[in-house]
Structures are given as C-alpha cells and as structure tokens.
Subunit: 322 residues, 2 copies
C-alpha cells in the first residue's frame, strides 16, 4: 500500500510485533526496515526525506510519522532504531564521529545516541570511517562492509571490495578490518554530465549499447589522462556521425568507469574482487572488469546494509543482557 506519494510500504503478511528498526538514512533517501525479534523484516518503508531535506529537529518527527502504527504502545521499552548513513554526519541529526582506518567497521559501542523527546524511540547513529593521508571518508558503506564481513566465509583473508555508487569506494579488508579505502566521484560525474552538461542531448537517460560501453572502458584504460577530451568527443561524434544518445550513454559510463579502473588497477589486476552494490551498476563494473580478464563476484548492497544493521542490533542485545 502507498500511504504517501513519496513513501512506500511493503507490509509482509502475518507479521509479528516490531522488535527494532533498521534504518539507512542517506543524503536523498531514507529506508526503514521494521524487524521482529527473529530479525525478520515485517515492513519496508522508503521515503525521500533524506538528510539534504532535513534540519536536526526534523529527524524525530520524520521517524514518528513514517513508523506510525509500528511504534510501541503502553508500557513497552523503547524501540531501538539502528541507523547508518548521513543522518550521523555533522550536517545530519547528530554527529557520530568517524572511526579511523585501519579499524573494523564501527558497531553499536561507537554509536551516537541523539536526544529524543518521545520515550518510544531509542536511536543509535553508527559512525563512518575516515583515513587522513590521503583524506577520505565513508558513511553508510562501513555498514555494508560490516554485513559483508558478518557473512564472509574467510574474513581473515586480505581482499579488495568495490562499492559502486554515486561516490564509489574501493576498500582493502584484512583480518576483519578496513585497512584502506579510496572514493571516486564516478557516479556523480556521470549524473552531472548526462543531465546538466553540453552532453545532455547526446547522452540519453535510458537505453544501452554494450559493445560501445566495453570499447569506451578500453579506451579510457589505455589513456585515462585524455578523459576530458574523450568526453567532448561524445558530442563531436553525435554531431558529425550521428552517434545515438543510447550509444552516448553507454560510452559516457564506460569512459568514467574505465578511468576509475585505471586508477585502481593494482587493486583488481590478477585478483578476485567483490562488488557490493545495486544490481545494474554492479553488473556494469563486472562487465568493465571482465574486459580486462578480471572476474568479480557480485553481492547485493541492500542485503548487506540490513545484515550490517542486524549485526549492530545483535551487539546491542548482547550489551543489554545482564
């Protein structure tokens, strides 16, 4: 059922009583999972009330509004809300200061608890991770990594994971710790160039050309420094040889992902890596890597976010057990 144009509920039939709330509160989107005591998802709520639209005093009313009937009644103890993402940033609800890599993904012990007026809520904001030389930050991805490590068959092994997205991350994991990571503005560059640059008429919003994508990946890897010229060439090819906007779209994606792969070559060349991301974008990275003979395993990011939040809730339960 849809209770609001920008809000969707997927209620699971025969659901039991809410035991806790898992929350991924990002810049533009908020996802809530209403969980029972068996860590089964009772309800899944998505909303566009992300950090960029909220002041600190807006977070609690937003939660109360979206959770509605799921809030405890009577003499119950407060409902724990375990939250990752930008709500814990300095511009968010309350700051959950970054942990410093190398470190394990921060858990409930490092969480910040913002003051709430309503006694039915007990909110925990999980921190992100930073590195200082060179400076880099993640906030939200560390919880996916926590979920990945919780499921990993061999967490002691040194390995590289890539988290494609608006700001894609490449992280090295060792002995259950994030030892280093690097962020690339690849996804945001794609969105800006596709939607707001001179390329907007030669790069479509939909459609695809797999051959052109793979060719563009190879071109960018062969000469990454030429990226600003290769981008303009999308316009010139459209003007001079009628290149379709769908081919333009695939080429733009291939060029930008190709440059990212050129920068991370030491991380994936001759190695097995794991892609933690949404399905479509992860497949593109998988294809791009396959043009270079690299086989990548894909794991669904949303599943891992929920696994990471569940791991944090388990820590909370243990800490509260006498």
């Amino acid at each position: 059922m849809t209770a609001h144009p920008n809000l969707s509920h997927d209620t699971i039939p025969g659901a039991s009583v809410p035991a806790w709330i898992a929350a991924d509160w990002g810049t533009s989107q908020l996802r809530l999972w209403v969980m029972d005591r068996e860590d089964t998802v009772i309800d899944r709520i998505t909303s566009d009330r992300g950090m960029s639209r909220l002041s600190p005093q807006d977070y609690e009313p937003t939660l109360l509004d979206l959770l509605g009937d799921h809030l405890p009644t009577g003499e119950n103890s407060p409902l724990p809300v375990i939250c990752c993402g930008m709500a814990g940033s300095r511009q968010g609800w309350a700051e959950a200061p970054y942990a410093s890599a190398p470190c394990p993904p921060p858990g409930i012990a490092e969480a910040t608890q913002p003051a709430t007026k309503d006694p039915r809520l007990a909110v925990y904001l999980l921190p992100g991770i930073k590195t200082t030389d060179p400076a880099d930050v993640m906030r939200g991805e560390e919880t996916q990594i926590a979920g990945y490590l919780a499921q990993d068959r061999d967490p002691a092994t040194s390995q590289v994971i890539c988290l494609p997205g608006t700001h894609s991350k490449w992280a090295r994991l060792e002995q259950g710790e994030v030892t280093s990571f690097s962020t690339f503005m690849t996804g945001e560059l794609f969105a800006l160039l596709q939607g707001q640059s001179v390329l907007q008429h030669c790069v479509s919003e939909e459609g695809w050309d797999e051959t052109a994508f793979e060719q563009a990946v190879r071109e960018a890897l062969a000469n990454p420094a030429a990226i600003a010229a290769q981008l303009f060439r999308l316009r010139a090819d459209a003007l001079l040889s009628g290149q379709s906007p769908e081919t333009g779209r695939a080429r733009l994606s291939g060029l930008l992902i190709g440059v990212e792969l050129a920068a991370t070559q030491d991380d994936w060349s001759g190695q097995h890596i794991t892609l933690l991301g949404a399905d479509q974008l992860s497949r593109r990275y998988e294809t791009a890597l396959s043009t270079q003979g690299c086989t990548a395993r894909r794991v669904d990011a949303e599943t891992l976010t929920l696994a990471g939040l569940t791991a944090a809730y388990d820590q909370l339960k243990k800490s509260q057990t006498p």
Copy 2:
C-alpha cells in the same frame, strides 16, 4: 550608457559612420562591435541573447534591436555583419558547415548567408572546423586562430596554441593551416563541480590559493587516472582538516587543468606554446605550464576574435572590388 539590464554599450566619443558589424555570437553571449571604414571600433555591445535562448527567427530581430541607431538610413547599401560562433551551428541561425582540418581557418568565401527580411542587413556566418578521426569540432575559435595567423610574424612555423575556455582547445598550426586539434571539457567540468556537485560547499565562487593550485597541477600530472578520487578528496580535506573553500577552488582548478596538461604533454613539453584566451584563465594555464618548466606566451582572445572578423571583412571588400 546601459540601455538594458543585460545589454551594455561602450560608445566611443567622436565616432564616425558604421561601415560593418563584427559579431561573436556564442551559446550564452553575443558581442557586437560597430566598426567604421578604418576598422576602428565605434561601439561595443554585449548581450545575453546567445544561441541557447534563440530560435532561428529570433536572430534578425535581435540584431535590429541591438544595433538600433547604428543601422543605415536612406539609400545606403546594406550593412555587412560578419559573424563567428554558434549562430552558424545547426541549432543556430543557419548552418555554416564545418571546414575539414587540415585547412586554413575558413573565411568569407566559405560563409553562409542567412536570408534576412530587412534590406539594411547583409549577414555572413563563418564556418567552424572539424576533424573526423577522432571526431572533434570548433566553432568560434577558428576565427581567433584566423586573427592570430593574420598577426603572426612567422605563420610558416609549425606551432601549438592552446585556447583555454569552457571547452578548451589545443591546436597545431602549420603553414597557415590548422592541421589538428583536440577539445577538453575542462572549463565545463569546473563549473559543474563547483556549482552543482557535492563539492559546492568546499569550493568557493571567488578567492584563490596559488600554492594549492600549483600543487594540485603537479598531483594531477603525476597521476591523472586518479582524478575522480582526487576530486572527492577536496570534500574529505574540507571535512577532516578544514580546508578552506578558496583553497578548494584553486585545487579543483589545478586538478582539472593538470589532467588536461597530462593529456597534451607531447604538445607543450620542451616547446614554446601560445595561449589564446581571456586574461585570468590564460594566466592559470601559464602558471600551470610554468610548474613544468614550459614558458607560454599569452595573447588576448577578444582582440584576436576581432582581428579574425576584420580579416574576413577585408576578404569581403576585396571580393566586392571590381
């Protein structure tokens, strides 16, 4: 005097009778110079009625409106308007098809004459230049190059020129011809990232940090493939070490220009090059090149545009002399 908020006139006192109009009609801006028979500027008019705001039928009324009292009266012959830039593109007033490099900058003989209803106007749209493998186009810069070649003491020499701008161009000139060129989206990337990306709060609209600029140029040249990570680092440095938005601005510029220089290294390394551009941006390229031991000469682009349009008008006069 200012006749309109988006229109400025600089009338030169004691001016004589208009003999022709020089026009640089770009995507976002229109510049008109009212010229006398001695090729002296009588009036300079700028307007924001660029191609992006106009349909084909809007161009003639725009000219009539802006030229006003400068239009001939009575039985005079029509006033030639020599025009370079996007007005001659397929989306402009009328298409002036590209000349193919290698070629001299196209002149009056290659110009397209759009039909005009008013007999007081005789409009000539100068073509741009294209290359096909790889595809690239210029429209407007070829007239600056024509002006540069008209002033050049030794046009037979092979040389490289760089035209910094929204879409900066690197062109090789030989025997008065443009033999090859390449376009970089550097300026547009800067504008998008400064104004519309996650970097907008850590990159100021004004201010500068010369040391940070030079350091960023060096970093980008040393590892151009890492550009998408170096961009995100601007945000991380602002978050973690309080890097000022002025330093962020200079670093963003340095990173993007540095990547352009990495791609064009064969063109400038160990050579003398000439920068044709607006003062401030040209100085940045000059500084960036100087970090690599390359000395560049700067020439003002607007002066060259006018010189190129004047050269085309001279050709028109000669063609009309019996």
